[in-house]
Protein backbone atom coordinates (compact mmCIF):
# COMPACT_ATOMS: atom_id res chain seq x y z
CA UNK A 1 0.00 0.00 0.00
CA UNK A 2 0.98 3.61 -0.49
CA UNK A 3 2.38 5.28 2.61
CA UNK A 4 -0.41 7.64 3.75
CA UNK A 5 2.11 9.87 5.52
CA UNK A 6 3.79 10.85 2.28
CA UNK A 7 3.63 14.59 1.71
CA UNK A 8 1.57 15.37 -1.42
CA UNK A 9 0.43 11.78 -1.38
CA UNK A 10 -1.66 12.17 -4.55
CA UNK A 11 1.45 13.10 -6.53
CA UNK A 12 3.10 10.21 -4.79
CA UNK A 13 0.62 7.72 -6.22
CA UNK A 14 1.11 9.10 -9.74
CA UNK A 15 4.83 8.73 -9.15
CA UNK A 16 4.35 5.16 -7.99
CA UNK A 17 2.27 4.44 -11.10
CA UNK A 18 4.96 5.80 -13.43
CA UNK A 19 7.51 3.79 -11.50
CA UNK A 20 5.25 0.74 -11.84
CA UNK A 21 5.24 1.17 -15.64
CA UNK A 22 8.95 1.96 -16.03
CA UNK A 23 10.47 -0.37 -13.46
CA UNK A 24 7.81 -2.52 -11.85
CA UNK A 25 7.77 -3.51 -8.21
CA UNK A 26 7.49 -6.49 -5.94
CA UNK A 27 3.92 -7.79 -5.74
CA UNK A 28 1.91 -6.57 -2.75
CA UNK A 29 1.44 -10.22 -1.89
CA UNK A 30 5.21 -10.63 -1.90
CA UNK A 31 7.56 -12.73 -3.97
CA UNK A 32 7.04 -12.14 -7.67
CA UNK A 33 7.87 -8.98 -9.61
CA UNK A 34 4.93 -7.15 -11.20
CA UNK A 35 4.82 -4.29 -13.71
CA UNK A 36 7.83 -3.03 -15.64
CA UNK A 37 8.06 -2.08 -19.32
CA UNK A 38 8.18 -5.62 -20.72
CA UNK A 39 5.13 -6.82 -18.83
CA UNK A 40 3.23 -3.61 -19.62
CA UNK A 41 4.10 -3.86 -23.33
CA UNK A 42 2.96 -7.48 -23.39
CA UNK A 43 -0.40 -6.59 -21.79
CA UNK A 44 -0.83 -3.55 -24.09
CA UNK A 45 -0.04 -5.62 -27.19
CA UNK A 46 -2.62 -8.22 -26.20
CA UNK A 47 -5.12 -5.39 -25.75
CA UNK A 48 -4.26 -4.04 -29.22
CA UNK A 49 -4.53 -7.55 -30.66
CA UNK A 50 -8.08 -8.19 -29.40
CA UNK A 51 -9.03 -4.63 -30.41
CA UNK A 52 -7.69 -5.26 -33.91
CA UNK A 53 -9.44 -8.63 -34.22
CA UNK A 54 -12.78 -7.24 -33.03
CA UNK A 55 -12.53 -4.13 -35.22
CA UNK A 56 -11.57 -6.26 -38.24
CA UNK A 57 -14.52 -8.58 -37.71
CA UNK A 58 -16.83 -5.69 -36.90
CA UNK A 59 -15.80 -3.82 -40.07
CA UNK A 60 -16.18 -6.96 -42.19
CA UNK A 61 -19.79 -7.30 -40.97
CA UNK A 62 -20.98 -3.73 -40.52
CA UNK A 63 -19.26 -1.83 -43.35
CA UNK A 64 -20.63 -3.82 -46.33
CA UNK A 65 -24.04 -3.99 -44.65
CA UNK A 66 -24.09 -0.23 -44.07
CA UNK A 67 -22.93 0.50 -47.64
CA UNK A 68 -25.55 -1.75 -49.24
CA UNK A 69 -28.45 -0.66 -47.02
CA UNK A 70 -27.44 2.98 -47.46
CA UNK A 71 -26.99 2.80 -51.23
CA UNK A 72 -30.39 1.21 -51.79
CA UNK A 73 -32.02 3.21 -48.99
CA UNK A 74 -33.43 0.12 -47.30
CA UNK A 75 -33.64 -0.85 -43.66
CA UNK A 76 -33.31 2.60 -42.13
CA UNK A 77 -35.16 1.42 -39.02
CA UNK A 78 -32.72 -1.51 -38.65
CA UNK A 79 -29.53 0.48 -39.26
CA UNK A 80 -30.45 3.40 -37.01
CA UNK A 81 -32.15 1.17 -34.42
CA UNK A 82 -29.04 -1.00 -34.04
CA UNK A 83 -27.02 2.15 -33.41
CA UNK A 84 -29.40 3.28 -30.67
CA UNK A 85 -29.57 -0.12 -28.98
CA UNK A 86 -25.78 -0.43 -29.32
CA UNK A 87 -25.23 2.57 -27.09
CA UNK A 88 -27.29 0.94 -24.35
CA UNK A 89 -25.37 -2.38 -24.43
CA UNK A 90 -23.56 -2.80 -21.09
CA UNK A 91 -19.97 -3.85 -21.87
CA UNK A 92 -19.51 -5.76 -18.63
CA UNK A 93 -22.66 -7.83 -19.14
CA UNK A 94 -21.70 -8.71 -22.74
CA UNK A 95 -18.23 -9.90 -21.66
CA UNK A 96 -19.73 -11.89 -18.78
CA UNK A 97 -22.31 -13.58 -21.01
CA UNK A 98 -19.68 -14.40 -23.65
CA UNK A 99 -17.31 -15.84 -21.05
CA UNK A 100 -20.04 -18.01 -19.52
CA UNK A 101 -21.74 -19.27 -22.67
CA UNK A 102 -18.80 -19.56 -25.11
CA UNK A 103 -16.08 -20.13 -22.54
CA UNK A 104 -13.02 -18.13 -21.57
CA UNK A 105 -10.50 -17.29 -24.27
CA UNK A 106 -9.71 -15.14 -27.26
CA UNK A 107 -12.81 -16.24 -29.21
CA UNK A 108 -15.37 -15.09 -26.67
CA UNK A 109 -13.57 -11.78 -26.04
CA UNK A 110 -13.33 -11.10 -29.78
CA UNK A 111 -17.01 -11.88 -30.33
CA UNK A 112 -18.11 -9.78 -27.34
CA UNK A 113 -16.06 -6.80 -28.53
CA UNK A 114 -17.34 -7.27 -32.09
CA UNK A 115 -20.90 -6.86 -30.78
CA UNK A 116 -19.81 -3.47 -29.43
CA UNK A 117 -17.97 -2.51 -32.65
CA UNK A 118 -20.80 -3.20 -35.10
CA UNK A 119 -23.49 -0.63 -34.12
CA UNK A 120 -21.54 2.65 -34.58
CA UNK A 121 -19.90 1.44 -37.81
CA UNK A 122 -23.19 0.22 -39.28
CA UNK A 123 -25.21 3.30 -38.35
CA UNK A 124 -22.58 5.83 -39.41
CA UNK A 125 -21.89 4.08 -42.72
CA UNK A 126 -25.63 3.96 -43.43
CA UNK A 127 -26.10 7.63 -42.54
CA UNK A 128 -23.01 8.61 -44.58
CA UNK A 129 -24.44 6.92 -47.67
CA UNK A 130 -27.90 8.42 -47.17
CA UNK A 131 -26.75 11.98 -46.60
CA UNK A 132 -25.04 12.19 -49.98
CA UNK A 133 -27.10 14.58 -52.10
CA UNK A 134 -29.43 12.49 -54.31
CA UNK A 135 -28.75 14.94 -57.15
CA UNK A 136 -25.06 14.06 -57.02
CA UNK A 137 -25.84 10.34 -57.23
CA UNK A 138 -28.26 10.97 -60.09
CA UNK A 139 -25.54 12.91 -61.89
CA UNK A 140 -23.16 9.98 -61.41
CA UNK A 141 -25.80 7.61 -62.81
CA UNK A 142 -26.34 9.98 -65.71
CA UNK A 143 -22.64 9.87 -66.50
CA UNK A 144 -23.06 6.11 -66.97
CA UNK A 145 -21.55 4.91 -63.69
CA UNK A 146 -22.53 1.43 -62.56
CA UNK A 147 -23.90 1.09 -58.99
CA UNK A 148 -20.47 -0.13 -57.87
CA UNK A 149 -18.78 2.93 -59.39
CA UNK A 150 -21.38 5.23 -57.83
CA UNK A 151 -20.61 3.71 -54.41
CA UNK A 152 -16.84 3.63 -54.77
CA UNK A 153 -16.27 6.94 -56.55
CA UNK A 154 -19.09 9.19 -55.34
CA UNK A 155 -20.90 8.04 -52.20
CA UNK A 156 -17.97 6.63 -50.20
CA UNK A 157 -15.56 9.54 -50.80
CA UNK A 158 -18.26 12.02 -49.75
CA UNK A 159 -19.12 9.91 -46.74
CA UNK A 160 -15.57 9.49 -45.40
CA UNK A 161 -15.90 11.91 -42.43
CA UNK A 162 -19.10 10.28 -41.13
CA UNK A 163 -17.90 6.71 -41.73
CA UNK A 164 -14.58 7.42 -40.01
CA UNK A 165 -16.49 9.02 -37.14
CA UNK A 166 -18.25 5.70 -36.59
CA UNK A 167 -15.01 3.73 -36.84
CA UNK A 168 -13.32 6.06 -34.34
CA UNK A 169 -16.19 5.77 -31.84
CA UNK A 170 -16.16 1.98 -32.21
CA UNK A 171 -12.37 1.76 -31.79
CA UNK A 172 -12.34 3.85 -28.61
CA UNK A 173 -15.19 1.83 -27.14
CA UNK A 174 -13.60 -1.50 -28.09
CA UNK A 175 -10.10 -0.66 -26.82
CA UNK A 176 -11.60 0.64 -23.56
CA UNK A 177 -13.74 -2.46 -23.10
CA UNK A 178 -10.81 -4.74 -23.97
CA UNK A 179 -9.51 -3.63 -20.57
CA UNK A 180 -11.97 -6.00 -18.85
CA UNK A 181 -11.01 -8.92 -21.14
CA UNK A 182 -9.13 -10.65 -18.26
CA UNK A 183 -12.61 -11.54 -16.91
CA UNK A 184 -12.87 -13.81 -19.94
CA UNK A 185 -9.33 -15.12 -19.62
CA UNK A 186 -7.42 -12.83 -22.02
CA UNK A 187 -4.74 -10.91 -20.14
CA UNK A 188 -4.88 -7.24 -21.17
CA UNK A 189 -3.95 -4.14 -19.17
CA UNK A 190 -7.07 -4.75 -17.08
CA UNK A 191 -5.23 -7.63 -15.42
CA UNK A 192 -3.66 -4.96 -13.20
CA UNK A 193 -7.20 -3.94 -12.17
CA UNK A 194 -8.70 -7.42 -11.77
CA UNK A 195 -5.65 -8.65 -9.82
CA UNK A 196 -5.72 -5.56 -7.65
CA UNK A 197 -4.46 -7.50 -4.66
CA UNK A 198 -1.07 -8.24 -6.20
CA UNK A 199 -0.57 -5.00 -8.16
CA UNK A 200 -1.76 -2.49 -5.59
CA UNK A 201 -3.02 1.04 -6.20
CA UNK A 202 0.02 1.87 -8.32
CA UNK A 203 -1.05 -0.90 -10.71
CA UNK A 204 -4.56 0.54 -10.97
CA UNK A 205 -3.32 4.01 -11.86
CA UNK A 206 -0.73 2.54 -14.24
CA UNK A 207 -3.51 0.63 -16.03
CA UNK A 208 -5.59 3.82 -16.33
CA UNK A 209 -2.68 5.77 -17.77
CA UNK A 210 -1.77 3.05 -20.29
CA UNK A 211 -5.37 2.52 -21.48
CA UNK A 212 -5.77 6.28 -21.95
CA UNK A 213 -2.50 6.41 -23.92
CA UNK A 214 -3.59 3.47 -26.11
CA UNK A 215 -6.88 5.22 -26.88
CA UNK A 216 -5.16 8.53 -27.68
CA UNK A 217 -2.61 6.80 -29.96
CA UNK A 218 -5.33 4.87 -31.83
CA UNK A 219 -7.42 8.05 -32.20
CA UNK A 220 -4.36 9.87 -33.58
CA UNK A 221 -3.64 7.08 -36.09
CA UNK A 222 -7.27 7.04 -37.22
CA UNK A 223 -7.22 10.83 -37.66
CA UNK A 224 -4.18 10.43 -39.94
CA UNK A 225 -5.93 7.60 -41.80
CA UNK A 226 -8.97 9.81 -42.28
CA UNK A 227 -6.81 12.53 -43.84
CA UNK A 228 -5.28 9.97 -46.21
CA UNK A 229 -8.71 8.62 -47.18
CA UNK A 230 -10.21 12.05 -47.81
CA UNK A 231 -10.07 12.65 -51.54
CA UNK A 232 -7.96 15.63 -52.74
CA UNK A 233 -11.11 17.12 -54.25
CA UNK A 234 -12.84 17.33 -50.88
CA UNK A 235 -9.82 18.90 -49.21
CA UNK A 236 -9.82 21.49 -52.00
CA UNK A 237 -13.53 22.15 -51.57
CA UNK A 238 -13.04 22.72 -47.82
CA UNK A 239 -10.07 25.03 -48.36
CA UNK A 240 -11.98 27.27 -50.76
CA UNK A 241 -15.26 27.16 -48.81
Amino acid sequence: MIDPHLPLSFLGLFGHAINFILHGQEAETGGIHVGGPEKMAELALTQLKVTGLAMGLGLAIAFPAGVLLGHYGRGELLAVGIGNVGRALPELVIIAIAATTIGVGLLSVTLALTILAVPPILTNTFVAMRQVDRGVVDAARGMGMTPLEQIARVELPLGVPTIMGGIRTATINVVATATIAPLAGVLTLGDLIISRGANGDAGLVAAGICVALLALILEGLLAVLQRLLTSPGMKLARATA
Binding site: S9, F10, L11, G12, L13, F14, A17, N84, R87, A88, L89, P90, E91, L92, V93, I95, A96, I97, A99, T100, T101, I172, N173, V175, A176, T177, T179, I180, L183, I193, D201, L204, V205, A207, G208, I209, V211, A212, A215, L216, E219
Partner: protein, 243 residues
Protein backbone atom coordinates in the same frame (compact mmCIF):
# COMPACT_ATOMS: atom_id res chain seq x y z
CA UNK B 1 -19.94 -9.64 1.31
CA UNK B 2 -17.35 -8.82 -1.31
CA UNK B 3 -14.86 -11.27 0.02
CA UNK B 4 -17.52 -13.95 0.12
CA UNK B 5 -18.30 -13.31 -3.53
CA UNK B 6 -14.65 -13.40 -4.47
CA UNK B 7 -14.26 -16.78 -2.92
CA UNK B 8 -17.50 -17.98 -4.45
CA UNK B 9 -16.35 -16.85 -7.88
CA UNK B 10 -13.09 -18.67 -7.43
CA UNK B 11 -15.07 -21.82 -6.78
CA UNK B 12 -13.24 -22.52 -3.53
CA UNK B 13 -16.36 -22.91 -1.42
CA UNK B 14 -17.41 -26.28 -0.08
CA UNK B 15 -20.46 -27.67 -1.85
CA UNK B 16 -22.70 -27.45 1.23
CA UNK B 17 -22.00 -23.73 1.73
CA UNK B 18 -25.18 -22.81 -0.11
CA UNK B 19 -27.30 -25.33 1.80
CA UNK B 20 -29.27 -22.67 3.61
CA UNK B 21 -29.67 -20.48 0.59
CA UNK B 22 -32.79 -20.83 -1.49
CA UNK B 23 -30.93 -20.49 -4.78
CA UNK B 24 -28.66 -23.45 -4.13
CA UNK B 25 -29.27 -25.27 -7.40
CA UNK B 26 -29.28 -22.10 -9.44
CA UNK B 27 -25.93 -21.01 -7.99
CA UNK B 28 -24.37 -24.42 -8.34
CA UNK B 29 -25.38 -24.80 -11.96
CA UNK B 30 -24.06 -21.41 -12.96
CA UNK B 31 -24.47 -21.93 -16.69
CA UNK B 32 -28.22 -22.47 -16.42
CA UNK B 33 -30.79 -19.70 -16.50
CA UNK B 34 -33.53 -19.79 -13.86
CA UNK B 35 -35.97 -16.89 -14.28
CA UNK B 36 -37.99 -18.13 -11.30
CA UNK B 37 -35.00 -17.68 -9.01
CA UNK B 38 -34.39 -14.17 -10.36
CA UNK B 39 -38.01 -13.20 -9.77
CA UNK B 40 -37.93 -14.58 -6.22
CA UNK B 41 -34.75 -12.62 -5.45
CA UNK B 42 -35.47 -9.44 -7.40
CA UNK B 43 -35.17 -7.54 -4.11
CA UNK B 44 -31.39 -8.00 -4.31
CA UNK B 45 -31.37 -5.70 -7.34
CA UNK B 46 -33.22 -2.78 -5.75
CA UNK B 47 -30.28 -1.10 -3.98
CA UNK B 48 -27.84 -1.54 -6.91
CA UNK B 49 -30.49 -0.14 -9.27
CA UNK B 50 -31.03 2.92 -7.08
CA UNK B 51 -27.24 3.42 -6.86
CA UNK B 52 -27.09 3.05 -10.62
CA UNK B 53 -29.72 5.75 -11.14
CA UNK B 54 -27.59 8.11 -9.02
CA UNK B 55 -24.52 7.15 -11.10
CA UNK B 56 -26.44 8.21 -14.22
CA UNK B 57 -28.52 11.14 -12.99
CA UNK B 58 -25.75 13.06 -11.21
CA UNK B 59 -23.22 12.94 -14.09
CA UNK B 60 -25.87 13.83 -16.68
CA UNK B 61 -27.19 16.72 -14.57
CA UNK B 62 -23.73 18.07 -13.67
CA UNK B 63 -22.48 17.56 -17.23
CA UNK B 64 -25.52 19.39 -18.57
CA UNK B 65 -25.10 22.41 -16.31
CA UNK B 66 -21.40 22.80 -17.18
CA UNK B 67 -21.89 22.04 -20.90
CA UNK B 68 -24.78 24.48 -21.12
CA UNK B 69 -22.67 27.23 -19.57
CA UNK B 70 -19.75 26.42 -21.85
CA UNK B 71 -21.97 26.41 -24.93
CA UNK B 72 -23.52 29.79 -24.06
CA UNK B 73 -20.05 31.19 -23.44
CA UNK B 74 -18.72 29.82 -26.73
CA UNK B 75 -21.82 31.12 -28.50
CA UNK B 76 -21.05 34.65 -27.30
CA UNK B 77 -17.25 34.52 -27.49
CA UNK B 78 -16.43 32.70 -30.71
CA UNK B 79 -12.71 32.44 -29.99
CA UNK B 80 -13.53 30.00 -27.18
CA UNK B 81 -15.01 27.46 -29.61
CA UNK B 82 -11.68 26.04 -30.81
CA UNK B 83 -10.14 25.47 -27.34
CA UNK B 84 -13.41 24.05 -25.94
CA UNK B 85 -13.76 21.64 -28.88
CA UNK B 86 -10.07 20.69 -28.57
CA UNK B 87 -10.40 19.86 -24.88
CA UNK B 88 -13.63 17.95 -25.47
CA UNK B 89 -11.97 15.93 -28.27
CA UNK B 90 -9.20 14.79 -25.94
CA UNK B 91 -11.64 14.13 -23.07
CA UNK B 92 -13.85 12.12 -25.40
CA UNK B 93 -10.93 9.94 -26.49
CA UNK B 94 -9.86 9.03 -22.95
CA UNK B 95 -12.18 6.16 -21.98
CA UNK B 96 -14.07 6.91 -18.77
CA UNK B 97 -12.94 3.52 -17.50
CA UNK B 98 -9.31 4.70 -17.77
CA UNK B 99 -10.27 8.05 -16.26
CA UNK B 100 -11.56 6.23 -13.15
CA UNK B 101 -8.01 5.15 -12.37
CA UNK B 102 -6.27 8.32 -13.51
CA UNK B 103 -8.46 10.20 -11.01
CA UNK B 104 -7.78 7.62 -8.30
CA UNK B 105 -4.79 9.46 -6.76
CA UNK B 106 -6.91 12.62 -6.50
CA UNK B 107 -10.29 11.33 -5.36
CA UNK B 108 -9.63 7.78 -4.22
CA UNK B 109 -11.72 4.65 -4.66
CA UNK B 110 -15.47 5.15 -4.52
CA UNK B 111 -18.53 6.68 -6.05
CA UNK B 112 -17.15 10.25 -6.26
CA UNK B 113 -14.43 9.19 -8.68
CA UNK B 114 -16.91 7.32 -10.87
CA UNK B 115 -19.26 10.31 -10.91
CA UNK B 116 -16.49 12.75 -11.89
CA UNK B 117 -15.26 10.52 -14.72
CA UNK B 118 -18.78 9.93 -16.03
CA UNK B 119 -19.50 13.68 -15.79
CA UNK B 120 -16.48 14.37 -17.99
CA UNK B 121 -17.92 11.91 -20.51
CA UNK B 122 -21.44 13.40 -20.58
CA UNK B 123 -20.00 16.93 -20.67
CA UNK B 124 -18.33 16.30 -24.01
CA UNK B 125 -21.46 14.95 -25.71
CA UNK B 126 -23.69 17.65 -24.20
CA UNK B 127 -21.35 20.53 -25.08
CA UNK B 128 -21.07 19.47 -28.71
CA UNK B 129 -24.81 19.04 -29.15
CA UNK B 130 -25.82 22.21 -27.31
CA UNK B 131 -23.26 24.30 -29.19
CA UNK B 132 -24.19 22.86 -32.57
CA UNK B 133 -27.90 23.32 -31.75
CA UNK B 134 -27.30 27.02 -31.10
CA UNK B 135 -25.11 27.39 -34.22
CA UNK B 136 -27.66 25.71 -36.46
CA UNK B 137 -30.35 28.33 -35.83
CA UNK B 138 -30.81 29.94 -39.29
CA UNK B 139 -29.55 33.50 -39.59
CA UNK B 140 -32.87 34.64 -41.14
CA UNK B 141 -34.75 33.49 -38.05
CA UNK B 142 -32.43 35.49 -35.82
CA UNK B 143 -32.81 38.51 -38.13
CA UNK B 144 -36.59 38.19 -37.88
CA UNK B 145 -36.26 38.21 -34.09
CA UNK B 146 -34.03 41.27 -34.20
CA UNK B 147 -36.50 42.94 -36.55
CA UNK B 148 -39.22 42.37 -33.97
CA UNK B 149 -37.10 44.35 -31.52
CA UNK B 150 -35.64 41.51 -29.39
CA UNK B 151 -32.42 42.23 -27.52
CA UNK B 152 -29.57 39.72 -27.84
CA UNK B 153 -30.54 38.21 -24.48
CA UNK B 154 -34.21 37.89 -25.46
CA UNK B 155 -33.12 36.45 -28.82
CA UNK B 156 -31.12 33.76 -27.01
CA UNK B 157 -33.83 32.68 -24.59
CA UNK B 158 -36.88 33.12 -26.80
CA UNK B 159 -35.60 32.16 -30.26
CA UNK B 160 -32.23 30.42 -30.30
CA UNK B 161 -32.56 28.11 -27.27
CA UNK B 162 -36.10 26.91 -28.08
CA UNK B 163 -35.01 26.09 -31.63
CA UNK B 164 -31.95 24.26 -30.28
CA UNK B 165 -34.07 22.08 -27.96
CA UNK B 166 -34.25 19.06 -30.31
CA UNK B 167 -30.44 18.91 -30.62
CA UNK B 168 -29.91 19.56 -26.90
CA UNK B 169 -32.31 16.76 -25.96
CA UNK B 170 -30.72 14.58 -28.64
CA UNK B 171 -27.43 15.04 -26.77
CA UNK B 172 -29.10 14.30 -23.44
CA UNK B 173 -30.52 11.04 -24.85
CA UNK B 174 -27.14 9.87 -26.13
CA UNK B 175 -25.39 10.88 -22.89
CA UNK B 176 -28.01 9.25 -20.66
CA UNK B 177 -28.25 5.96 -22.54
CA UNK B 178 -24.48 5.53 -22.82
CA UNK B 179 -23.96 6.44 -19.19
CA UNK B 180 -26.43 3.75 -18.10
CA UNK B 181 -24.14 1.22 -19.81
CA UNK B 182 -20.84 2.81 -18.71
CA UNK B 183 -21.84 3.21 -15.07
CA UNK B 184 -21.83 -0.59 -14.80
CA UNK B 185 -18.03 -0.36 -14.77
CA UNK B 186 -18.14 1.73 -11.58
CA UNK B 187 -17.99 -1.56 -9.66
CA UNK B 188 -14.27 -1.75 -10.52
CA UNK B 189 -13.63 1.39 -8.50
CA UNK B 190 -15.94 0.45 -5.60
CA UNK B 191 -18.55 2.85 -6.97
CA UNK B 192 -21.55 0.54 -6.57
CA UNK B 193 -24.34 0.41 -9.15
CA UNK B 194 -25.66 -2.56 -11.10
CA UNK B 195 -22.11 -3.72 -11.87
CA UNK B 196 -22.00 -5.31 -8.41
CA UNK B 197 -24.55 -7.86 -9.65
CA UNK B 198 -22.18 -8.90 -12.47
CA UNK B 199 -18.71 -8.71 -10.96
CA UNK B 200 -17.25 -10.81 -9.43
CA UNK B 201 -20.11 -13.33 -9.95
CA UNK B 202 -19.56 -13.16 -13.72
CA UNK B 203 -20.30 -16.83 -14.36
CA UNK B 204 -23.67 -16.74 -12.55
CA UNK B 205 -25.65 -16.45 -15.79
CA UNK B 206 -29.06 -15.88 -14.16
CA UNK B 207 -27.73 -12.89 -12.23
CA UNK B 208 -25.84 -11.49 -15.21
CA UNK B 209 -28.83 -11.75 -17.56
CA UNK B 210 -31.20 -10.21 -15.00
CA UNK B 211 -28.78 -7.31 -14.58
CA UNK B 212 -28.53 -6.90 -18.35
CA UNK B 213 -32.32 -6.78 -18.69
CA UNK B 214 -32.62 -4.19 -15.90
CA UNK B 215 -29.89 -2.07 -17.55
CA UNK B 216 -31.58 -2.15 -20.96
CA UNK B 217 -34.97 -1.38 -19.37
CA UNK B 218 -33.47 1.54 -17.44
CA UNK B 219 -31.89 2.95 -20.62
CA UNK B 220 -35.18 2.53 -22.49
CA UNK B 221 -37.31 4.18 -19.79
CA UNK B 222 -34.95 7.17 -19.47
CA UNK B 223 -34.80 7.54 -23.26
CA UNK B 224 -38.60 7.53 -23.56
CA UNK B 225 -38.85 10.07 -20.72
CA UNK B 226 -36.50 12.40 -22.63
CA UNK B 227 -38.48 11.97 -25.86
CA UNK B 228 -41.66 12.92 -23.98
CA UNK B 229 -39.84 15.91 -22.42
CA UNK B 230 -38.82 17.05 -25.88
CA UNK B 231 -42.40 16.82 -27.20
CA UNK B 232 -43.60 18.87 -24.25
CA UNK B 233 -40.83 21.43 -24.73
CA UNK B 234 -41.42 21.89 -28.45
CA UNK B 235 -45.19 22.17 -28.98
CA UNK B 236 -44.66 24.07 -32.25
CA UNK B 237 -43.02 21.03 -33.88
CA UNK B 238 -46.22 19.01 -33.47
CA UNK B 239 -48.24 21.78 -35.07
CA UNK B 240 -45.82 21.91 -37.98
CA UNK B 241 -45.97 18.14 -38.43
CA UNK B 242 -49.75 17.85 -38.31
CA UNK B 243 -50.19 20.30 -41.16
Amino acid sequence: MTSFRLIAAAGQLPQDFFQNRAHKTCIQEQGTVCPGWALDHIGEWVTPTLQHIVLVAVPVACGFVVAFGMALLAHRRRWLVAPFLGVSDVLFTIPSFALFYILLPLTGLGRTTAIIALTAYTLVILFRNTYSGLSNVPEEVKDAGRGMGLTERQLLWRVELPLAVPEIIGGLRIATVSTVALATLAVFINGGGLGVKVYPDISFLTGVLTTGIILLALAFVLDVALVIAQRLATPWLRVAQSR
